[in-house]
């Protein structure tokens, strides 16, 4: 028999005998399932967050903030600057020939999280009428838009699901006055975690003049550089000009990287733990089969097929465990919605996203652990002196 045929025969024989070692096999399956499940769940959290963030930001749009500010919350532009910015030629015009630009004011409000009394910080964004044609991705899912001049709010879908008391018709009290929720909107991006209201109403209610940022639609993607150059060189202005995407990914860079670090640390520690579990199982599988391996060697099977058979068993079990873990993570967490601290020191709500790529990543980890866990026991099995092995 050629080595290849030997390998095939012995691997098949070995895999068929797994049911006899069911208990031990479960150790690998559960151990690796646990690692992969946690890994996939955590990666899907970070994938969900970055999906929400990268969805925010159209290359056609630019955001203008006060120079040196690290976010909308710390930025401030007075009315004169905002007006000056809006009339830059790089900004597209709407049908009514007004610039497609919206001066927006961010104030932080506290809204209770579902089932809790303590407040979570939520952004209230005061917007100008052009905010809606500027963001065609925004759709009203329920109710109506707020009316200018009235203390009315529309609420993002993520905020609606994460926080309490944001149903249509409910009233919220900010700074001694009541605001009524009149609609729900959905943008599928970071704005879903916000409350929106009319800019001027917000300014007067919070005793603020000016805006935090100006969002503009560019005439074309290429117009960005000239816009940036003109505005930053303008001696009347002190501003930073960023594409919307640049801005939003920088805003949550620290949250995203924190999640990534936690994921890596947890996965590595768990993987090491599972590796020892796998080694334990495979060593005991080998020792249970000592006589069998001795017999195979005695009737002429080489050591390569023996190694292959042990490795195949370890990797097959790992793959089952990995699939199980990924499946459980998918069933429990796909679409699971959470909120955490995003930019502006306010909440960002997002959904876990278990993607095929993450599942593949989980399975690769499973196979690596299975490979390492099988390797040493396999080598030991192959090295067993035939005479000794036959004695059992």
């Amino acid at each position: 028999m050629s080595t290849l045929t030997q390998i095939r025969e012995i691997v098949l024989m070995n895999l068929r005998s797994i049911p006899q070692r069911l208990g031990a096999s479960f150790v690998i399956i559960i151990g690796i399932g646990g690692v992969v499940g946690v890994l996939v769940a955590m990666l899907s959290m970070s994938a969900g967050l970055s999906k929400t963030l990268t969805a925010t930001g159209n290359p056609n749009r630019a955001i203008i903030l006060r120079g040196g500010s690290n976010g909308e919350l710390t930025s401030f532009l007075d009315r004169a600057s905002a007006t000056l910015i809006k009339h830059d030629p790089a900004i597209a015009r709407a049908d009514d020939s007004l610039p497609l630009a919206s001066g927006e004011l961010i104030v932080v409000t506290e809204v209770p999280r579902k089932g809790e009394t303590g407040g979570a910080n939520v952004s209230l964004r005061g917007v100008e009428p052009k905010a809606f044609p500027l963001r065609p991705e925004l759709r009203l899912v329920e109710g109506r838009l707020f009316r200018p001049g009235l203390r009315e709010l529309i609420v993002g879908d993520g905020a609606f699901h994460e926080f309490d008391g944001l149903d249509i018709g409910r009233r919220l009290k900010f700074r001694g006055s009541y605001w009524t929720v009149v609609g729900h909107f959905k943008t599928d991006d970071a704005h879903d975690s916000e409350l929106w209201a009319d800019l001027e109403t917000t300014q007067s209610a919070f005793g603020r003049s000016g805006v935090s940022s100006v969002l503009v639609r560019l005439t074309s993607v290429d117009a960005f550089d000239s816009l940036k150059l003109r505005l930053t060189e303008d001696p009347q202005l002190n501003v930073d000009v960023l594409t919307e995407r640049e801005f939003f990914s920088a805003q949550s860079a620290s949250t995203t990287s924190t999640i990534r670090i936690i994921t890596t640390v947890v996965t590595i520690i768990m993987a090491i733990g599972a590796l020892f579990g796998a080694l334990n199982t495979m060593y005991s599988a080998v020792s249970a089969r000592t006589a069998e391996i001795g017999t195979l060697r005695a009737i002429g099977f080489g050591s390569a097929p023996v190694v292959a058979s042990v490795m195949a068993e370890a990797m097959a079990l790992s793959l089952i465990g990995g699939s199980l873990g990924a499946g459980i993570a998918y069933a429990l967490f796909n679409g699971y919605s959470v909120s955490t601290l995003g930019g502006n020191f306010t909440q960002i709500a997002f959904n876990f996203a278990v993607t095929p790529a993450l599942v593949m990543q989980g399975l690769v980890w499973a196979l690596v652990i299975g490979f390492l866990g099988g390797l040493f026991p396999a080598v030991r099995a192959a090295r067993l002196p035939v005479t000794e092995a036959l004695r059992g």
Binding site: V27, G31, G34, V108, E110, A120, R175, I269
Partner: protein, 386 residues
């Protein structure tokens, strides 16, 4: 009496050294992870017990990011039971470059010393901070990190506050270095206080007169709830409604912003625990199965059923305790080595308590089934290998 059984437990564990070593290693990894997660969790749950109830924080009801105006100060002071009031405004300064971020607050020096007696510094520096308009004091940890000495000029670039001349580069004269009065507070001496006098004078006119949040020192902590309610009542339905809570709740609210992360950490701990339960459980049952004839011999020698049960349970407990100790040792050593000092992830009493309970549950869940099996062994059957 019990000690004489220890060698038996020991030899059972050493019977298959590789297996015991691997099981211990995987237990250690699991407890390393559980210990770390619980340490993070207790930070998020607000391990700020050291903050007594004698201080209240008054913030704008809408959000603590909205500064309250200074004119509230005399009104807060007039509430019965209020001893001292100070105010602090987050400055948001960056030293040299964006990675060097530490918290700074613009405060009135005398009022700060009144409300925060926990900070200790020499009298001369105390007076210097009060009398220097552009003065600043830094915590000892901070001063050591950047090698600052009293008299240094510290340039800070604020990402929030613009000066009247339109720039955001502020210069502060370091006039003192403070430390905590005990170990707990010394660990927190990583912030900087700036004199409000220069801060308010130099910032753009529109922002002048804003105090930030108020810290209220009450003379009787038992009264703090009543005082908090009285303060909030004073400003009800005004445009500057307040929310007053004790300092601990305030800190907790800050950390609560991380939201569901705590739940996720607990879910991971649960998954790890379950995985380890299965791994160790299998190892234990295998270890007992292999030793059935030996256990039968023990019984022949006169060991009672209950002692055999106890022996197996002790073995399981020993395994779990050793693994947990190794894991917790790693969890204690590793964070200070890899994390910068401002992340206070340390194994504390809460984490130990959690791990102790976990060890007991795990040892019982893992040890009991094989222990019962060992107890119920019939000598004849076991010796015959049936």
């Amino acid at each position: 009496m019990l000690v004489k059984y220890l060698p038996l437990v020991g030899s059972a564990l050493l019977r298959k050294k590789t297996r015991t070593a691997f099981t211990l290693a995987s237990l250690a990894m699991a407890f390393l992870l559980i210990g770390l997660l619980q340490a993070v969790n207790s930070v998020l749950a607000g391990g700020a017990d050291f903050l007594g109830a004698s201080r209240l924080i008054v913030q704008a009801k809408t959000s603590f990011t909205q500064p309250l105006p200074m004119r509230l100060l005399p009104q807060i002071e007039s509430v019965p039971g209020v001893e001292f009031v100070s105010h602090s405004q987050f400055f948001g300064g960056v030293y040299q470059d964006a990675r060097n971020f530490f918290p700074q607050f613009a405060v009135n020096p005398q009022r700060l010393f009144d409300t925060y007696p926990e900070w200790i510094l020499p009298d001369s520096q105390r007076r210097a901070f009060i009398s220097t308009r552009d003065g600043a004091i830094a915590g000892r940890l901070l001063a050591e990190k950047y090698g600052w000495k009293v008299g240094d000029i510290i340039p800070l670039n604020s990402f929030i506050w613009t000066k009247t001349d339109g720039t955001r580069a502020w210069e502060w004269r370091l006039v003192g270095i403070f430390d905590g009065r005990d170990e707990e507070w010394s660990k927190r001496a990583g912030l900087m206080y700036l004199n409000y006098a220069q801060f308010d004078e130099a910032r753009v006119a529109g922002a002048r007169g804003l105090a930030g949040v108020f810290a209220v020192y009450v003379n009787d902590p038992m009264q703090s709830e009543r005082i908090a309610a009285a303060i909030d009542k004073k400003f009800e339905n005004s445009s500057d409604e307040t929310k007053t809570q004790n300092e601990q709740e305030f800190q907790l609210g800050f950390l609560k912003q991380f939201g569901d992360i705590g739940f996720i950490l607990n879910a991971i701990s649960g998954a790890v625990f379950f995985t380890i339960l299965i791994l160790t459980g299998y190892t234990m049952s295998q270890a007992v199965r292999e030793r059935i004839p030996e256990l039968a011999v023990l019984k022949c020698l006169g060991f009672t059923d209950r002692i055999v049960l106890a022996l197996v349970l002790a073995e399981s407990l020993a395994l779990c305790v050793l693994g947990a100790l190794a894991g917790m040792a790693l969890a204690t050593i590793i964070p200070p080595l890899v994390l910068p000092p401002e992340y206070p992830v340390r194994i504390n009493a809460d984490a130990w308590l959690f791990v102790t309970v976990a060890v007991i549950v795990l040892a019982t869940a893992v040890g009991l089934p094989p222990a019962l099996r060992a107890m119920r062994l019939k000598i004849v059957d076991a010796l015959a290998g049936r």
